[in-house]
Amino acid sequence: MRHVILERWSRGESCVHRRDPRAKIVALITFLAVVATAHRALAWLAPGLLLLLLAGLVLAKLPLTGALVRAALVVPFTGVFALICWFAGEPALGLRLLAKSYLSALAVIWVVATTPLPALLNGFEMTGVPRFLLVVCQFLYRYLFVISEEAQHMSKAAAARGTAARNWTAPGPSFRAAAGALGVLFARSYARAGDIHRAMLARGFDGRFLQLHSENFRPADTAFALVASLAPVAVRLTVERVVG
């Protein structure tokens, strides 16, 4: 699956990978806020912020083209709206939407590709997101691939039994077959949840995930958070002072 690549990148080793997730979350939110509130001189601001992100990617030793292509996942959705704006006679607005959403997606990738997701979710817990929600997210991410694989097996098995041979005039039987498959998948996931819970209770699970690493916020993390969140603000102030 195509998103496993983020998981692999996040196990890398660089000065960005080593920083505390909380510092990266602070920097990310600042960057997103700077992008979201930008109105003027976007033609200069967008390349500036892109350069900043590229510097971040290089610093994190991430493959540049890979990350840039990955961020283009937002383009199909945004591109349609950009086209709509173009037809409505406002090409500038369309380009603005495209630039803003692409930059935001690239920033999110920069953080997710340098922090393993469990650590990132743990970092969100320190910022006050309900722990219950984050534990649900952890389980969801852990079993996402397991259940998806099961679904793929089921649809492959169904196809082997002839559901793929579509009857154009009467889709009823294969529709019911798909509904049955989903019902079975639902019941199986439900039963699996009970098994997982009992197995985790047997291993002393008390509703929270323990971390192997210490969660000390070091001076280097503070410095990183300061520099990384002040950089986009500085870029924007400079551009707006010079151009605007």
Partner: protein, 296 residues
């Protein structure tokens, strides 16, 4: 063009990316989502025992996986389940909201499907209002002769309401759209809503045959008139928002004239962040007090 739009909506749900919403809109919806999610998480946790966390996680994974199973609709097209209403029927509305929130969070972080600042908007559209709109008809008419219709209506309503909310947020934020395109997107919402209703009904019926205990009980003997009034209210509210947002110029002019030219954004962002920080502190304080009272 209709097919084009359909492909961009993924046929179903609109995950708003960052950069689309204007600052007042995303900031307001984020501030609305934070306490709502905290409350819903607390409620879902209280409703069951601590077995809930693995169960909700697996249900979220199930909804992701359900998108891999295609439902043939005829004429070469196929659809898949969105799942908000199905979750509400099986887990109850609070737990369904938590699962949908977790799904949206993972989608924003790992799949670049929807933005992080726009997460509040997406949560309000799909995880809060969408789930509630799906649960309402089931709650009112889930038992008795109206059962099948209310399951269908709930699933359809959840898709229509979430779509209309997302569309009106985009329009309020100043994304221009011609009237004809607006009509096409509403038609797309309607078609995918009907599809969601049919799929959800089929899955619920197959679930009833396999393991009927998995479905939530709904109180018996509610009058169908009440159901229609409630459904009509939800539908009217969402469509009303849509039409109100047809004239976003007034709001835009207001914000343009209000802000001073230089460093206006800094002040604007500062005010927004201060408001967010205030709400955040308030939620944290209330959460602390509540949990302390409970532990005593």
């Amino acid at each position: 063009m209709a097919r084009f739009l359909k492909s961009c909506y993924g046929g179903k749900a609109v995950h708003i990316p960052d950069g689309f919403l204007s600052t007042p809109v995303w900031a307001a919806l984020d501030t609305a989502a934070v306490p709502a999610v905290a409350w819903v998480a607390r409620r879902a946790q209280r409703g069951f025992d601590d077995r809930q966390a693995p169960l909700l996680g697996l249900m979220g994974a199930f909804v992701f996986a359900a998108q891999l199973i295609n439902f043939p609709v005829g004429a070469g097209t196929s659809g898949h389940l969105v799942g908000a209403a199905l979750l509400a029927f099986t887990l109850g509305p609070a737990a369904a909201s938590v699962v949908m929130t977790a799904i949206l969070g993972i989608q924003a972080l790992v799949f670049q499907d929807g933005g992080l600042l726009a997460l509040g908007a997406n949560i309000v559209n799909m995880a809060l209002v969408g789930v509630l709109a799906g649960y309402l008809p089931y709650r009112l008419g889930g038992a008795g002769e109206w059962r099948r219709f209310s399951i269908f209506a709930g699933a359809s309503l959840s898709v229509v309401v979430a779509g209309c909310l997302a569309l009106s947020e985009l329009l309020i934020s100043g994304v221009r759209m011609q009237t004809s395109l607006l009509g096409i997107s509403l038609a797309v919402f309607l078609v995918s809503a009907i599809l969601e209703g049919v799929i959800t009904l089929a899955v619920v019926r197959s679930l009833e045959r396999i393991q009927p205990t998995l479905l939530q009980d709904s109180p018996p003997h509610k009058s169908p008139a009440l159901l229609f009034i409630a459904v009509a209210a939800v539908l009217l509210a969402s469509v009303g928002v849509l039409f109100a947002s047809q004239a976003p110029d007034a709001i835009e002019q207001l914000t343009e004239h209000a802000g001073p030219r230089s460093f206006g954004w800094l002040r604007q962002a500062g005010t927004g962040l201060a408001g967010l920080a205030l709400i955040y502190g308030l939620c944290l304080a209330i959460g602390r007090t509540v949990s302390r009272n409970r532990s005593v």
